[in-house]
Symmetry: C2
């Protein structure tokens, strides 16, 4: 049935070309014809192997999440769970955003048109963030999470990392101070986590 060997090679070539184009010129430079040209094939191959341009983009994003997840898993741990979490944010999130800005926008920020396309990333994202969740769980075990759910704290920490990355990619952080601002912000929210349930909000909502 068919010629799967060659197809595998073609699919790899297409993905490699797509990654090269997106990383060097951004997602807007990615066209089916150009990917096919640079991979030495035709547009038809993209549709046979990936179904559509969206399929190719999803495959790219999945690859990006594999990179992210592997980077978190490879990070060493110390006896200090708070420092380890800061390290995960700065070394994994920030590093990935700075070194692969287009892939970051594509996969993490989901700079895509169609919303159901973005939903395709949910599974891959959850896998990649498992390592982050483990580090937050260590904070919880040390009693440094207040009365927050681990899930909530992961969301909040993740949100801060993603927002910092967005702000930095927009050029709002001075290059030589960016890492300090990151460490400072991540440290602040972790410090706040250790206090009991968001005192600043207490004057507004009596917390149900």
């Amino acid at each position: 049935m068919g010629r799967p060997r060659h197809a595998e090679r073609t699919a790899r070539a297409l993905l490699d070309a797509a990654e090269r184009i997106v990383e060097s010129e951004g997602l807007q430079a990615l066209s089916v014809r150009r990917v096919a040209d640079e991979a030495g094939t035709t547009t038809r191959a993209v549709y046979s192997l990936f179904g559509s341009k969206q399929g190719l983009v999803i495959a790219l994003g999945t690859r990006a999440f594999e990179l992210l997840g592997a980077a978190i898993a490879a990070l060493p741990t110390t006896p200090d769970p708070a420092a380890d979490l800061v390290e995960a944010g700065v070394t994994v999130f920030r590093r990935f955003a700075v070194e692969h800005p287009s892939l970051f926008r594509l996969a993490v920020q989901r700079t895509l048109t169609s919303p159901e396309l973005a939903a395709q990333f949910d599974a891959a994202a959850a896998d990649a963030l498992a390592g982050l969740e483990a580090r937050v769980a260590r904070l919880a075990a040390a009693g440094l999470l207040g009365d927050r759910t681990i899930r909530d704290a992961v969301c909040q920490f993740h949100a801060l990392c993603e927002g910092l990355a967005a702000v930095e990619l927009r050029g709002l952080l001075h290059a030589n101070q960016a890492e300090r601002v990151w460490r400072d912000a991540l440290g602040a929210i972790i410090t706040g986590f250790a206090a009991v349930s968001a005192p600043a909000a207490a004057t507004q909502v009596p917390q149900g």
Copy 2:
């Protein structure tokens, strides 16, 4: 010279149509032909009045920032600067993101292809965020900012708001708990601000 009266009306009709389309179907549904059709004119008008599709999109984003800035300015203040800052995040940022998700993605998150197009928003964004900066300055005046710059704290707080909005728009926050998670996260980082310079990072960088 020309017929400026009619032009002004046409420009307004085009902007209104564009806003309607983007808000109801997202940025990917916005095409020059369709905007022109719904405004009762032709594509040529867009190029005469806005220069290009980008010009129209920039005008839309500028309008979004005016809304945001006005919402911050209209917010009342209390004697508690920390609570006021939380309120700004939840009532202005979150509200805008939830009620106008497409405009939020367009203007704040800059879900756009071209990077120099996104830079057009910098001035409008700075204006809109002046009210936020004022509230952070009140925190600083109360001695609740540690040794942080106001500018840095604004960036960090803004990053957290933008990240929370991104996470919520992705559907990761349970609808009935979203506001609590927001208040909790904003409260945590503000609590952390009051502590002296990010203790969690102290074990990693000795702070130059």
